[in-house]
């Protein structure tokens, strides 16, 4: 049974070896000519205004969390839609139940002021 895992073991060795090899080689070969622009953190080309280690509003956290929840919901709906004809009415009802639970959470977050920005 264990022999079946030998390819995976080889794969692990090759992957690790490749990473180490590339790091060492680029460390040996690359030219070191730094300037101010080069040392800045890369942020999609926009010039950073302040240091990244700064306090920011806790609301970002809440919004990010809500975003993730509804993002995952959408991800969940795609495979459901693809096999909708197999699941038929049962699948539709299950999805309505799922959405209902999410909507309750959404209404709760809304009424509690999680979406207010002030």
């Amino acid at each position: 049974m264990l022999e079946a895992y030998v390819p995976i073991l080889i794969f692990v060795f090759v992957a690790t070896g490749f990473a180490i090899f590339t790091l060492i080689m680029s460390g040996l070969l690359h030219p070191e000519r730094y300037n101010k622009v080069k040392l800045e953190p890369y942020e999609c080309g926009i010039e950073p205004e302040t240091d990244a280690r700064d306090r920011y509003s806790i609301r970002y956290y809440l919004v990010a969390m809500l975003f993730v929840i509804f993002d995952v919901e959408t991800v969940f709906m795609f495979p459901w839609a693809v096999i909708m004809d197999e699941l038929a009415l049962f699948g539709l009802i299950e999805m309505i139940v799922f959405l209902f639970i999410l909507v309750v959470g959404y209404v709760y977050a809304w009424r509690k002021g999680a979406l207010e920005w002030a």
Partner: protein, 492 residues
Amino acid sequence: MPAGFSAADFYNILPELVLTGGALLVLIVDVLTARQQRGLLAWVTLGVLVATLLALLPFSDVNTVASRGLLAIDGFAFFFKLVFLLTALVTVLMSSSYIEVEGLRAGEYYFLILCATLGMMFMASGIDLITIFIGLETMAVAFYILAGFLKPNRRSNEAAVKYFLLGAFSLGLLLYGMSILYGLSGTTNVRELATVLASQERNALLIVGLVMVVAGIGFKIAAVPFHMWAPDVYEGAPTPVTAFLSVGSKAASFAMLLRLFMEGLPFLADMWQPMFWVLAVMSMTVGNLAALTQSNIKRMLAYSSIAHAGYLLIGVVANSSRGVTAMMIYLLLYVFMQLGAFAVVVMLRRQDVAGDELKDLSGLYFRYPTAAVAMLFFMLSLGGLPPTAGFMGKFWLFSAAIESGFIWLAVIGVLNSAVSLYYYIRVVVFMWMKEEALGSPIVASPSMAVALTVALAGAVVFGVYPRPLFELAQESAQSIGGVAAAVSALSF
């Protein structure tokens, strides 16, 4: 409907569906009512729990497998669901005044209590590794938040972070162990696991998986040496949450343990019995010795709860139908005595007194004789003195051990009970023989009075007349013992 599912599957999880709907209802009621009417939430929560209880009652004689072999709806699950609902009911009853004093958000609090109960119910009836794990996760996540519910309180924050980190780590261990068991057997169904693994040769990987599962569950039941989180979390968490955690979470984890080991791995008993023997002895000894020196009641009860995990493990080591019965009886009695003791501690919390130090109990008898006498009963019961419920529970546990030939284990258990009496009686000494403690008067709200009465009635009545409880537990234990016996007959 997909193949394998039917309308009966929805009927079989009716109590869980009611509870889920009820939890959502609590959230909706919370956002729709004004801040002054939040007292309503406790009533809604109680209503939900009673409705769930009523939905559960028709299942007392059912013995079936539902949802494509994910859930077992049997006597064993019924008994434990009863225990969880009872625990949640008493916890909610004792919470309302505490929430007011601490100024907590009631809606989220009750919602999380209901979610934790839901998770426990799935842990008790799950017979699939994944179902059991998701039930455990549902319960654990709710408890992580509940432990940190006193937001401005540093100890509460510490409790939440510690519980979350160690809990996540232990869940990881458990999941890893489960994945190894799955890898060896090719099935996640606990009952199929038993038949598949019984026909295979034992190898080192199986032992690794077994040890990881034992360690993961050891964290959840707070058995030594996996107990380090318990005292800090119990001390920091809001007191009603501590009560719920120490009874509900423990009972659910023991239900999971019994499902996994009695139904899933009975043929490995010669391997896990010694492990649990060591865990039981260490939990009893370390728990009781550490409890001796505590000055904080919640910490003391935490160590006492560690010791009780040790007593309960005796029933696992016995590995017999009698052992399972004894554990189930003890867990139900533990609901009454442990929740009762915590109810008194919750009552001590007033506007100006934290009420969790032993000295806060000083002279309680002279000002509040009823509360002091109730506490006396709970302490004697936890210590296991006749004629209280704790004595009956310990009697069955130890006799199950002796019947299975673990005489030394029973002897160590009895010696430990004797040691434990010192710190239980010390509470009584404070209540009767010390000067009265200062502080504003203690007021027992009506709901608190009901909670105390229920706990006291359970601890006293079942100590004197345990027969109905014994019969219920014996009948419920059959559904799990029967499978174990059938499988061991098959493998030899």
